[in-house]
Structure formats: structure tokens, C-alpha cells
């Protein structure tokens, strides 16, 4: 864990400890007050838990004993005595030393002695102390882990698993299908579903689970690992796990056929018979040698979502020791090759869409199955290649560091440059398009943001200014922020200027955000003097345009005298998006699914009768945009239309369409140059039947619409 967090923890722990001292002293005055005991216990609990989290094991190990002691105090098995409090206060002093991180031999032996006293105190109360397992557990755990890994490569076994979830299982948020998914990441699975008990639609209670499953699984994992999958549901479900063969018998088609014949809807199959069948089939030892699980042939369920981390471990362990360090862990590939790969995948996605369309039309189960598998695979392939083409923001840092250094020197300012979260990764094409906009932003910050040394001194700011480049994920976006501790942007100044330029009327009182956004207008500059560096007003509008080109957005936060933060919000990737296919009359459109919040069917009449394009949905007023009229599409609207509620910053806005068709993986293709002035679409995509759907840029539509309406 990050050092920054450790520091923070130490700071907080110091506060906690002083609170603890106070609570102990209060406890001394009122030994029966359970409130103080609770408080003491809670602090110890936090110290222990957080200590270990932040790598301060001495603290967590030491507090562990102390916490155990207070468990008994809490349960009134050990009375609050002066002796107890003395011991606790001594321990608190010890924790203080540990927190100061000036640990020497004396501290450690003191700690051991105190721990001994604490355990003795518990014993004296006549309580059996279990051997402290916490600290000694660490090593065996690791050893066990390794054993597992060795086990895994040694033997693949086949298990029968009965998973009969309790009826109420859905109520506490468990999705049993995820558990099946997890099982299939452990090896190859063959799943029988019993769904006859599902009542008819009229009678079904959607909060109850009526289905159960039987699973045959070949895996290198041990039975405990399988139990672990069901860890959270074990007490409310029936789980039976039985090893039926010491090899991967799922490879054997005879076995599968016989197992299938055993299957009776609604009844668990006989494990004895199953085991018998498997034993019969394994007559010749060696014929069914265990194979690495990954090569098992029956991928009935998806086995792709492997825990990469685990898998890495296994492969490394399988290599002989001597070769361990020789493996090539990464290779350099030219970015053209990745672009090509990306293009291929885009094509694949389009072809796959055609395939699923065909499969739907032909209505042949075999074909549908293949088409579904292809869809799954292409989705995985897409995600994997996305990951390859991601580049950390770190790659940008060096040049800005240099910029800050050189420019601040030139301007006679002193500025420290910090970075945060630079391991955040983005599509490399986006990174490339970011260079110039960021350069503008940095220049602005250095030139206009950070004050010169004298001014800073005068207003009591540290001599050195500070600029921070931050990157972080937020939902399906990446945010990149440039934060300075300079003079901030004076909103009144902008307003004044806007009035002078005739952009806003003298009497108007727009909101702060709106005023700030004026900066993005072409030819708008508030700097009182134009320098060689910036201030000619050719900055922010270009920044905004370039960021919009890559489907991003720019936001400004500022406080006069404190500083400015400019945040660039970007999509994770440029070329393929998960979308929602919708229609208005005969035209099809795709909305990025990441912005979709909810969908409501609403009567056309209701929309027609609404005032100011506002309807009440889900208990709240929602502004809606009627795409049929916005896009000037004629024709009759259906009786029921769909309001797709999309997020736009803090705001939620409804887009009214005729119908929502389905989710759709859309490959973004640029629209031709005829449409370059068209703001509403970020591109187009080709559908399975060869027709075209336009991809809506909801951000622009919403901002255009809301501006027009003001």
C-alpha cells in the first residue's frame, strides 16, 4: 500500500491513541460504563485492522492481544481493575512508540513482555487462551498456498457438485449465476439446470430462487477451493461436493452421455451411480491421464474469465526453477500492429453482428449456440486488445515536468510539479491527442495561475507555487486534472469582459459555471497582459475543441486566491463502445450505454401535453428532448414512446425515442466530411444487416438543447 496512506494512517492512529488514553482515564473513574469499554475496544479494533492493512504489522500484532483482552472485558468476564488499566496504559505507551517508528531492540522486547502480561491477565481470569494464531498463521498460509499450486499441476480431478440455493438467496443480493461463473473459471464445467419448479409467469415471485444446478467439473483445484466459491451461501443453500474421478473424465464422451442419461429434471442424480460410471470407464490406468485443465474439451460454460493473477502464478510454478527468470514477461510491439489488430477486431465485431442476425433468422439452435460463443469471444478479444492498447498517463509526465521547469524559470517563478495516479491508463490514441490541450492548460497555469514570488509572499502563500497533474478513473471515464495553487479565475472579471464584448447582456445573471464556460469561447482571454507564453485567447477554445473531438469534456473549478483545477474528462477508448440501439421512425441510433441511467415507457400524449419539455418520472422532474422533432423526422409517433434517461454531468435528461431495440457493441466509424459540422453524432456504426446507425453524442445534444432553451 502506498506510503502516502501509511502516513495518513499514522496520523490518524496518533489521534486514536490519544482518544484511547482519554477513554481509559474516564473508564478508571467509571469502571462500569460500557460506553467507554466499547470505545476502547473499537479503537483497538481499528488499530489492529488498519495497522495490518498499512503494513504496520508490529502494531496490529501487538493490538491483537490487547483486543482479545478487551473482548473479555466487554463480555464482563474480566473486570475493570486498576491493574488492567495500568497494563492497558502501558500498552498504549508502547503503541505510541511503535507509531513513532523509532523501533529498536528495546521496543520489541518491551512489546513481547507486555504481550506476555496481557495473555497472563487473560489466563488469570481463568480463561483458556487459544494459541495466538494471527501472527503464526502468516507463514503456514503461504506454504499452504504453494501446496495448492503444486497440487494443481499435479492432479486434475473431476467433481460432482450439487448447488441448491435457498429460496430466499436472491433477497440478500446474491446472484447464483455468478457462482456458476466462478466455478467455470476454475476448470471446465458441465452444468445441468433444474428449472421445472419455476412457476408460471402469473405466479412467479421474482425475489425467490426456484432453480437449482448440478455441475460436473474437472479442475486442478482442491475441494476446499470449491467450497470457497460457496462460502457466502453455504448456510442458506444445500451444497454437496464429491470427487468422482482422479482425472478429467469430462474428456470422455461416454461419460458425458451416461451422465446426461442420469439427469432427471427436478431430482438430483445419484452420486453413487455417477461414481460407478466413472470408475468403470477408468479401467486402464494411464489411458485417461490427467491433462492440464485448460485443454479440457467441453467448454460448455464460459471459461474465459480466468483470474489472471492466479493463472500467472501457476504457469510460473510449472516452469523448472532454473528457467524461472528467463521467461519473457513483455515484448515491444509497434503501435501500428496494435492499430491493425484493433481494426481487425472492429471488422470481427461487425461480422459477428451479421452472424447473430443470421442465426436469429434461421432459428437453428446449433447455429445460435455458435453465434453466441462467437459473440462472447469477440467481446473478450475486444476487451483484451483494449487493455493492450492502453498506455499509462505517466508517459506524458516527463514533457510537462520539463515545461514547468523551463517556463517557470523564464518567468522568474518557482513552481513544484507533482503527479498523482499517473499509472492510470488510457487508449494510446487518446493520450496522443491530449498532448497539445494539456500543454495549453499547463502554460495557462504557469503563466496566469501561479503568482510571482513577491505577490505570493505578500498574500502569505508559500513562495513556491504548486502544480499537480492528477489522473484517475471515474466510472467508465478517465479524468485528468491540472491543479494549481495560484490566483484562481476572477468570475467578475470574466463577466465584465463578456458584457463588454456583448456576449452577455449587462443585466443578466448567469450561474458561476456558465460564466466560467465562457472561457471556452473562441477569442476570449481575460489576462490583462498578453505574454509570449499565453494570454492571446487562443487557448481554451482550442483545448475544448480538441477534447470534444475525442468525445471528452473539460471542466473548470476555481477559487479566487486559492487556485484553479482544470479537469479533462475522457472516455476510456475511442473505437468500440457498448451501446444501446434505439430507433426513431426508420432511423437507428446508438447511445453509449455508459451514460444511460434508466428507461421508461411513456405515452405519447403525456409527452405532448407536457409543459416546457418536463415530465415527472420516478418521482422526479426530468427535462426531455424529443428526438423526433429535434432531428426533424416526420411521421406518426407510436402510442408508447421510450424515454431513455441519460446522465450529463450532474444532470439527468431524457431522450425520447420510438423503441429501444437492444444492447449493441458499436464499432465507431467516422462520418464523412459532409457531416463535419454536425455536432450531434460522434460517428456511425454498421449493423449486422449492413444498415447504418448513427452514434449519438449525448453530451453535445444535451448541452446544445439546454443552451437553446435558455
Amino acid at each position: 500500500m502506498n506510503d502516502h496512506f501509511q502516513e495518513k494512517f499514522i496520523e490518524e492512529a496518533k489521534e486514536l491513541v490519544s482518544g484511547l488514553e482519554e477513554a481509559l482515564l474516564l473508564l478508571e473513574d467509571n469502571p462500569d460504563d460500557t460506553k467507554h469499554i466499547e470505545e476502547v475496544f473499537r479503537v483497538m479494533h481499528t488499530l489492529k485492522g488498519s495497522g495490518a492493512m498499512f503494513g504496520m504489522n508490529e502494531i496490529s500484532e501487538f493490538t491483537h492481544n490487547l483486543e482479545s483482552l478487551y473482548v473479555f472485558v466487554k463480555e464482563q468476564q474480566i473486570p475493570v481493575t486498576k491493574q488492567l488499566l495500568d497494563l492497558t496504559l502501558d500498552s498504549v505507551d508502547h503503541i505510541k512508540v511503535l507509531l513513532s517508528q523509532k523501533i529498536d531492540k528495546g521496543t520489541l522486547s518491551n512489546g513481547l513482555e507486555l504481550s506476555g502480561k496481557i495473555l497472563q491477565h487473560i489466563k488469570n481470569a481463568g480463561i483458556e487462551v487459544l494459541q495466538d494464531s494471527e501472527s503464526s498463521d502468516i507463514l503456514p498460509d503461504k506454504v499452504r498456498e504453494q501446496d495448492k499450486i503444486i497440487d494443481q499441476q499435479k492432479s486434475v480431478a473431476t467433481f460432482y457438485i450439487l448447488f441448491k440455493p435457498g429460496k430466499e438467496i436472491l433477497r440478500d443480493g446474491t446472484n447464483p449465476l455468478y457462482l456458476l461463473d466462478e466455478l467455470s473459471t476454475m476448470g471446465s464445467t458441465y452444468i445441468f439446470r433444474h428449472s421445472d419448479n419455476v412457476p408460471t409467469f402469473r405466479k412467479i415471485d421474482p425475489a425467490l430462487c426456484y432453480t437449482f444446478w448440478e455441475i460436473l467439473m474437472a479442475t486442478g483445484n482442491v475441494i476446499d477451493d470449491i467450497h470457497d466459491v460457496f462460502l457466502f451461501v453455504e448456510d442458506v443453500s444445500t451444497i454437496e461436493i464429491l470427487k468422482i474421478a482422479d482425472c478429467n473424465i469430462l474428456d470422455n464422451s461416454d461419460f458425458i452421455r451416461k451422465a446426461e442419461s442420469l439427469f432427471v429434471e427436478g431430482e438430483a442424480m445419484s452420486k453413487a451411480i455417477l461414481k460407478n460410471i466413472s470408475e468403470e470407464l477408468i479401467v486402464l490406468p494411464g489411458k485417461l491421464q490427467s491433462k492440464p485443465v485448460d485443454k479440457a474439451v467441453i467448454p460448455v460454460s464460459e471459461t474465459g474469465k480466468k483470474d489472471n493473477h492466479k493463472k500467472e502464478n501457476i504457469t510460473i510454478k510449472q516452469q523448472p526453477e532454473a528457467y524461472e527468470n528467463r521467461g519473457i514477461s513483455s515484448i515491444r510491439v509497434s503501435s501500428d500492429k496494435i492499430d491493425n489488430l484493433m481494426n481487425n477486431i472492429s471488422e470481427l465485431v461487425i461480422v459477428q453482428a451479421r452472424l447473430s442476425l443470421l442465426a436469429d433468422k434461421m432459428n437453428q439452435p446449433d447455429l445460435s449456440q455458435i453465434s453466441e460463443s462467437v459473440e462472447k469471444l469477440s467481446r473478450q478479444l475486444r476487451d483484451n486488445v483494449f487493455n493492450i492498447s492502453l498506455v499509462p498517463v505517466k508517459n506524458l509526465v516527463a514533457r510537462y515536468k520539463r515545461l514547468v521547469r523551463d517556463l517557470s524559470k523564464e518567468l522568474g517563478k518557482e513552481i513544484d510539479f507533482f503527479t498523482e495516479g499517473t499509472e492510470t491508463a488510457l487508449d494510446k490514441n487518446i493520450i496522443e491527442s491530449l498532448t497539445d490541450p494539456l500543454l495549453h492548460i499547463f502554460r495557462n497555469s504557469i503563466d496566469h495561475g501561479i503568482e510571482d514570488i513577491e505577490t505570493r509572499e505578500k498574500i502569505g502563500k508559500p513562495e513556491k507555487g504548486k502544480i499537480t497533474l492528477k489522473a484517475y478513473y471515474s466510472g467508465s471515464e478517465v479524468h485528468i486534472a491540472v491543479e494549481d495553487d495560484g490566483g484562481g479565475i476572477d468570475i467578475n472579471k470574466i463577466k465584465e469582459k463578456a458584457v463588454n464584448k456583448g456576449i452577455i447582456k449587462a443585466g443578466a445573471s448567469p450561474g458561476e459555471k456558465e460564466i466560467l464556460n465562457l472561457i471556452f469561447l473562441p477569442g476570449f482571454s481575460t489576462a490583462s497582459k498578453v505574454t509570449g507564453v499565453s494570454g492571446r485567447g487562443v487557448g481554451m477554445d482550442v483545448v475544448m475543441r480538441k477534447i470534444k473531438d475525442i468525445r471528452g469534456n473539460v471542466e473548470i473549478d476555481t477559487e479566487v486566491g486559492k487556485g484553479t483545477t482544470i479537469t479533462i474528462k475522457l472516455p476510456l477508448t475511442l473505437s468500440i463502445i457498448d451501446g444501446l440501439l434505439v430507433s426513431v421512425a426508420d432511423s437507428l441510433y446508438v447511445l453509449p450505454i455508459s451514460v444511460v441511467d434508466k428507461i421508461f415507457p411513456v405515452k405519447h400524449k403525456e409527452l405532448q401535453d407536457s409543459f416546457n419539455n418536463i415530465i415527472v418520472l420516478d418521482g422526479g422532474q426530468i427535462l426531455f428532448i424529443y428526438l423526433r422533432s429535434e432531428f426533424v423526422i416526420g411521421g406518426e409517433a407510436p402510442v408508447y414512446e421510450q424515454v431513455v434517461v441519460v446522465r450529463h454531468g450532474e444532470q439527468k435528461v431524457g431522450l425520447v425515442v420510438d423503441a429501444v431495440i437492444r444492447e449493441y457493441q458499436a464499432v465507431l466509424k467516422p462520418v464523412g466530411s459532409h457531416y463535419k459540422d454536425q455536432d450531434f453524432f460522434s460517428g456511425a456504426t454498421i449493423l449486422g444487416d449492413g444498415s447504418i446507425a448513427l452514434i449519438l453524442d449525448t453530451n453535445r445534444i444535451v448541452s446544445k438543447f439546454t443552451n437553446d432553451n435558455q
Binding site: F9, S60, E67, R171, D172, N387, I593
Partner: protein
């Protein structure tokens, strides 16, 4: 590492914990894994977020001032919006009885403290995916 499935990313997790440093560290970890994070400082503080319909998972400590984790779990299960939201709680090996108590109150599962970030994310994915 970023999450493979882009749609996963918009999931929102409410994390309730009284220790500021743990809150921040876990927030960092979760955000890095692509989740949106809402933070509550204790049970009663967290209640105010229950009006928010966009919570996909609740992660809560058990020992907190004002309202403890068990109390919070019970409240969530009574709430209109989040009756069925998955709830994971943090517990230590020494509090086995707490595990039962929390389970009875309606929790989905637990994460054993102290935890390492990777483990946290794996467990969350187990429930959320």
C-alpha cells in the same frame, strides 16, 4: 490493472468505515479498480445515502460509533431502494460470532480483516461482477 469489462466500471460501491485512513485507502483501491465510491463515516452517516438509487454494493465495517455495521445492515434491508443490494462486511477472524450476527441481519458476505487490496477486489467481483 483495469477492469476488463467496461460496463462494470460504472458500478457504485458505498463504503462505510470510521477510520479515515482506511476509508481513503479503500476508496483509492476501489476507484483504481474502476468503481464509483460513496463514503460513509459510520452507520448513521451512511443512512443519508440510502435515498440514492445507484448503489450496487455496500461494504461496511462492523464496529463504528453512532450506528454500528449490524444496525446499518438492518436499516438497508428495511429500505425501499436497497432491500436486495449485496452487502459485504469487514470482520476479523476473532469475531466469528459477529459473522453470524451480521449474516442474520441480512449481509451477503464478509471480508476478513486485515485485507490486502487485491483480495478486496476479488471478493467484491465475486458478488458484483
Amino acid at each position: 490493472m483495469i477492469n476488463n469489462n467496461i460496463k462494470d466500471m460504472a458500478k457504485t460501491i458505498m463504503f462505510v468505515e470510521d477510520s479515515e485512513s482506511v476509508r481513503e485507502a479503500v476508496k483509492f483501491t476501489l476507484e483504481k479498480a474502476g468503481y464509483n465510491v460513496i463514503l460513509g463515516t459510520d452507520g448513521s452517516d451512511a443512512l443519508k445515502y440510502l435515498e440514492n438509487p445507484d448503489i450496487d454494493l455496500v461494504l461496511t465495517d462492523l464496529y463504528m460509533p453512532n450506528m454500528d455495521g449490524i444496525g446499518l445492515i438492518k436499516e438497508i434491508r428495511k429500505s425501499k431502494n436497497h432491500k436486495h443490494v449485496p452487502i459485504l462486511f469487514l470482520t476479523t477472524e476473532t469475531h466469528k460470532h459477529k459473522k453470524i450476527e451480521a449474516r442474520e441481519a441480512g449481509a451477503t458476505g464478509w471480508i476478513v480483516k486485515p485485507f490486502v487490496p487485491e483480495k478486496l477486489i476479488t471478493t467484491i467481483r465475486k458478488v458484483l461482477r
